[in-house]
C-alpha cells in the first residue's frame, strides 16, 4: 500500500492539467467533478498509505520511494523521492482531507464565477504542490513545493485580478514570501555545505550522530535562516503583513491556503528539521519568543477589526504563533497536534464566514451583519462549534491542543511564555465571540437589498461545514493528556534524537498530573472569561464598546491601524527600495544600458548615413569606380612581376 504514494501526487496534477488545458471548453459540472474527484482519489490513497504505515511496527514507520535521479552535478546529488513517515502521513491526510472538503464547498461558492476552471486548476495545483512539500524526501524537493505553494497562493490571492486591491495583495504576499524564501534557500545551501547532502535521512542522522555540539554556530545559522523562511510562509513577526491582505482572495482559498495548509508549512518544516533545531538552543529561544509575541500581537489586533475575514486572518496568525511557541519549547508533537486541530476549526470558521458572506451577497463588514442566527441556522451552528473549539472549551478539539501547548510552555519553557500564551488565549476567546455575537446575534444591521437575498447556502457548502464541525469536535480526542494517541504516533519522528528529552517531558506530564489538571481548569476558566466578557460587551450592552473606544482612544486607534506596521514597513523598506529602483531604472537602465546600446546603434546609423552617399544611383559614377578598381587590380596583379 505504501508503494501507492506516488499516486497521491499524480491525481491533483492530472486534475490541474485537465482543468488548465481544456477546462475552458468543459461544462462547469465536469470541471468541478474533475477537481473534486482528483482530490478525493488522492485522499483515498492517502488513507490507504496511512493504514499501510499503521500496519508497520512503530519503530520502522519510515518508507522512502525513490522516483528518479534528479540532479547530479559534481558532488551534488539530488534524487526525487517521496518519504512517508508519521509526520508526513498526518500532513497528507490533513491536506487532502481538508482540501477535499474545501473543493466540494468551492463548487457551490464559486458557482457564479467566470474563472471557474481557472480557480479549480490553481486549487489542484496548490494541492499538488503542498503534497510535494510534505512528501519530498530532501530539502530541495521541499523547497520546490514551498515555492510552488507560494506561486499558487499568489495566483489565488490575485484571482480577482481586476480588483486593484487583490492584485496588490497578491504582489505583497509574493514579495514578502520571497524575503523569507531567500533565507530558506540560503539555509539549504548551508546544509549542503555542512553535511554534503540534502537528503533528510542523511542530514538528520549525520546531525544526530555527528560531531555537532549543541549550540554549534553553523547549526544555529542554518536553523535561523530556515526559520526566516518559516516566518515568511507562516506569517510570523516580522513577515506576517501579507496574510491579512491575502483575504482578498476567494474565501475557500483563505480557508485552504491561508488557514489550514500552506501557512502551516513553516511549522511542518521546523517539525521536520527538529533534529537540527534541537541542536541549537538559541534558535529555539528565538522561535518560541517570536511565536509567543506573534500570538499576543496578532490577537490584540484581531480585537478591533471589523472585517469578518480579517479577524479570522489575525486569529490564524495568532494560532500559528502558538504552534511556533510549541516548537520553540521543543514540544513538536503539541505543535503538530495544534496544526491539525487548527486546520479543522479554522477551515470551518473560514468556510462559515464564506457562507455568511455568500448569504449576504458579498458583505464582509461585521457592522452590517447581526441577527443572522435564524436565517442561516446550519452555518450558525457549525460556526458556533468552530468558535468554541478555537476558544478552547472542553471537550472541543482546540481545548486539548491549546492546553497542551500552554502546559508544555510552562513545563519546558518558562512562566513568561505561559503568561503570554494565556493572555493570547483569553483574547482569542474574546474576539471569536465578539465576531460571533456581532454576526449572528443582536439586532440585524443588514442592509435592505442584502436582506432580500438572504438565504442559507446550498448543500454542497453546508455538508463540508458539518463534516468539519464534527472533526472540530472529535479531533481533540486524539490527544487527551495521558492517553495521547498522536503523541505515541509521532514519537518516532521526534523521538529519534534525544530520547531522554521526550521521555522527560512525558514524565513531566505524568509526574505532575495535578499540574495538568490545574492547567485544564485554568485555561477553561480563561476561555470562559473571554467569552463572558464578549457576551457582556457585544450582546448585553452593545453601547459599551463604543464608550471604551472613546475612552482608550489612542490604544483603539493603534489596534485598528494594526500598530501601523504596514506604514512603518512602507517607510523603512518599501519606499526607499522603490526610490532606489526608480533611480536604477532611470539612471542605470534607461541612461547607461539603454544609452550605450542606443548610442552604438546611432553611431552605426550615422556612419551608414555618410557611407550611403557613395550609392549615388548614377551609373556613370559606378563605372568610374570600376575603372579605378581595374587600374588598381592591374597594378597589383601585374606590375609586381614586370621585368623591363
Amino acid at each position: 500500500m505504501l508503494n501507492l504514494v506516488g499516486l497521491i501526487l499524480l491525481f491533483p496534477l492530472i486534475g490541474t492539467a485537465i482543468n488548465g488545458l481544456i477546462g475552458k471548453r468543459l461544462r462547469k459540472e465536469t470541471v468541478g467533478y474533475v477537481a473534486c474527484g482528483s482530490i478525493g482519489l488522492s485522499f483515498f490513497i492517502s488513507v490507504l498509505v496511512f493504514c499501510g504505515l499503521l500496519l508497520l511496527p512503530p519503530g520502522e514507520r519510515l518508507f522512502e520511494k525513490q522516483l528518479f535521479s534528479w540532479i547530479e552535478s559534481g558532488s551534488f546529488k539530488s534524487t526525487a523521492g517521496l518519504q512517508v513517515d508519521p509526520l508526513s502521513s498526518l500532513m497528507i491526510l490533513i491536506v487532502t482531507g481538508v482540501g477535499f472538503l474545501i473543493h466540494i464547498y468551492s463548487i457551490g461558492y464559486m458557482h457564479e464565477d467566470k474563472g471557474y476552471h481557472r480557480y479549480f486548476c490553481y486549487l489542484n495545483l496548490f494541492t499538488f504542490s503542498m503534497l510535494l512539500l510534505v512528501l519530498g524526501n530532501n530539502f530541495l524537493l521541499m523547497f520546490i513545493g514551498w515555492e510552488a505553494v507560494g506561486l499558487c497562493s499568489y495566483l489565488l490571492i490575485g484571482f480577482w485580478f481586476e480588483k486593484k486591491s487583490a492584485s496588490n495583495a497578491a504582489k505583497k504576499a509574493f514579495v514578502v514570501n520571497r524575503v523569507g524564501d531567500f533565507g530558506f534557500a540560503l539555509g539549504i545551501m548551508l546544509v549542503f555545505l555542512t553535511f554534503h547532502s540534502i537528503d533528510f535521512t542523511e542530514v538528520f542522522s549525520a546531525a544526530s550522530h555527528g560531531n555537532f555540539e549543541a549550540g554549534s554556530f553553523t547549526v544555529t545559522i542554518i536553523t535561523l535562516l530556515m526559520f526566516m523562511g518559516a516566518t515568511g510562509k507562516s506569517a510570523q513577526i516580522p513577515l506576517y503583513t501579507w496574510l491579512p491582505d491575502a483575504m482578498e482572495g476567494p474565501t475557500p482559498v483563505s480557508a485552504l491556503i491561508h488557514a489550514a495548509t500552506m501557512v502551516t508549512a513553516g511549522v511542518y518544516m521546523i517539525a521536520r528539521c527538529n533534529v537540527l533545531y534541537m541542536l541549537s538552543p538559541f534558535t529555539m529561544t528565538v522561535v518560541a519568543s517570536v511565536g509567543a509575541v506573534t500570538a499576543l500581537f496578532a490577537a490584540s489586533i484581531g480585537l478591533v477589526q471589523n472585517d469578518i475575514k480579517r479577524v479570522l486572518a489575525y486569529s490564524t496568525i495568532s494560532q500559528l504563533g502558538y504552534m511556533f511557541l510549541a516548537c520553540g519549547v521543543g514540544a513538536f508533537t503539541a505543535g503538530v497536534f495544534h496544526l491539525m486541530t487548527h486546520a479543522f476549526f479554522k477551515a470551518l470558521l473560514f468556510l462559515g464566514s464564506g457562507s455568511v458572506i455568500h448569504a449576504l451577497s458579498g458583505e464582509q463588514d461585521m457592522r452590517k451583519m447581526g441577527g443572522l442566527r435564524n436565517h442561516i441556522p446550519v452555518t450558525y451552528k457549525t460556526f458556533l462549534v468552530g468558535a468554541v473549539a478555537i476558544a478552547g472549551i472542553p471537550p472541543f478539539a482546540g481545548f486539548f491542543s491549546k492546553d497542551e501547548i500552554l502546559l508544555e510552555s510552562l513545563v519546558r519553557g518558562n512562566l513568561l511564555y505561559w503568561i503570554v500564551g494565556a493572555v493570547a488565549a483569553f483574547l482569542t476567546a474574546f474576539y471569536m465571540f465578539r465576531l460571533l455575537f456581532m454576526t449572528f446575534h443582536g439586532v440585524s444591521r443588514v442592509e435592505h437589498h442584502a436582506m432580500e437575498h438572504l438565504h442559507e447556502s446550498p448543500g454542497n457548502m453546508t455538508l463540508p461545514l458539518t463534516v468539519l464541525a464534527a472533526l472540530s469536535f472529535f479531533g481533540g480526542f486524539l490527544g487527551i493528556p495521558g492517553a495521547s494517541v498522536i503523541n505515541s504516533f509521532l514519537a518516532p519522528v521526534f523521538g529519534g534524537h534525544g530520547h531522554t528529552e521526550v521521555s522527560g517531558a512525558e514524565a513531566g506530564v505524568h509526574h505532575s498530573a495535578w499540574l495538568s489538571s490545574l492547567m485544564m481548569v485554568v485555561s477553561t476558566a480563561i476561555a470562559l472569561a473571554g467569552i463572558f466578557l464578549a457576551y457582556q460587551m457585544y450582546s448585553k450592552k452593545p453601547e459599551l464598546p463604543g464608550k471604551l473606544a472613546e475612552r482608550f482612544r489612542v490604544i483603539y486607534k493603534l489596534l485598528l491601524n494594526k500598530y501601523y506596521v504596514d506604514e512603518i514597513y512602507d517607510a523603512l523598506f518599501v519606499n526607499p527600495i522603490k526610490k532606489i529602483s526608480v533611480q536604477l531604472w532611470k539612471r542605470v537602465d534607461a541612461g547607461m544600458i539603454d544609452g550605450s546600446v542606443n548610442g552604438i546603434a546611432r553611431l552605426v546609423g550615422g556612419f551608414s548615413n555618410i557611407l550611403r552617399l557613395l550609392q549615388t544611383g548614377y551609373v556613370r559614377n559606378y563605372a568610374f569606380y570600376i575603372v579605378v578598381g581595374c587600374i588598381f587590380i592591374i597594378i597589383f596583379a601585374v606590375l609586381g612581376k614586370v621585368k623591363f
Binding site: 549615388t616 544611383g617 548614377y618 568610374f624
Partner: protein
Amino acid sequence: MITVTHYLVLSAILFTLGVVGVLVRRNAIIIFMCIELMLNAVNLSFVAFAHYLNSMQGQLFVFFTMTVAAAEAAVGLAIIVAVFRNKETVNIDDINIMKW
C-alpha cells in the same frame, strides 16, 4: 615592320577611348556604342595575337564575342526602348532611382 605591339597599342587606344566615352557621355545609346567600341578593341588584340602566335583560337574567340555582342545589342537596345517609354528620356543621369 608592323609587330604585335603596334596592334596592341592601337587596341589599347581604342579601348581607352571607349572607357572615357562611357565615363563622360550621358546618352545611354552613345554609352552603349562606346561599349561596342571596347569590344572591338579587344577583338582586335585577339586577332593580332592569333596571327603572330600562329593560332586559330583567337579568331574563334572573336567569333563568339561577336555572337555575344549581337545578343547584347538586341537586349540592351530593348531595355533602352523600354526605359525611354517609361521615362521619356535616355539620359542616364535621369535614371538614378536605384539607390538608398
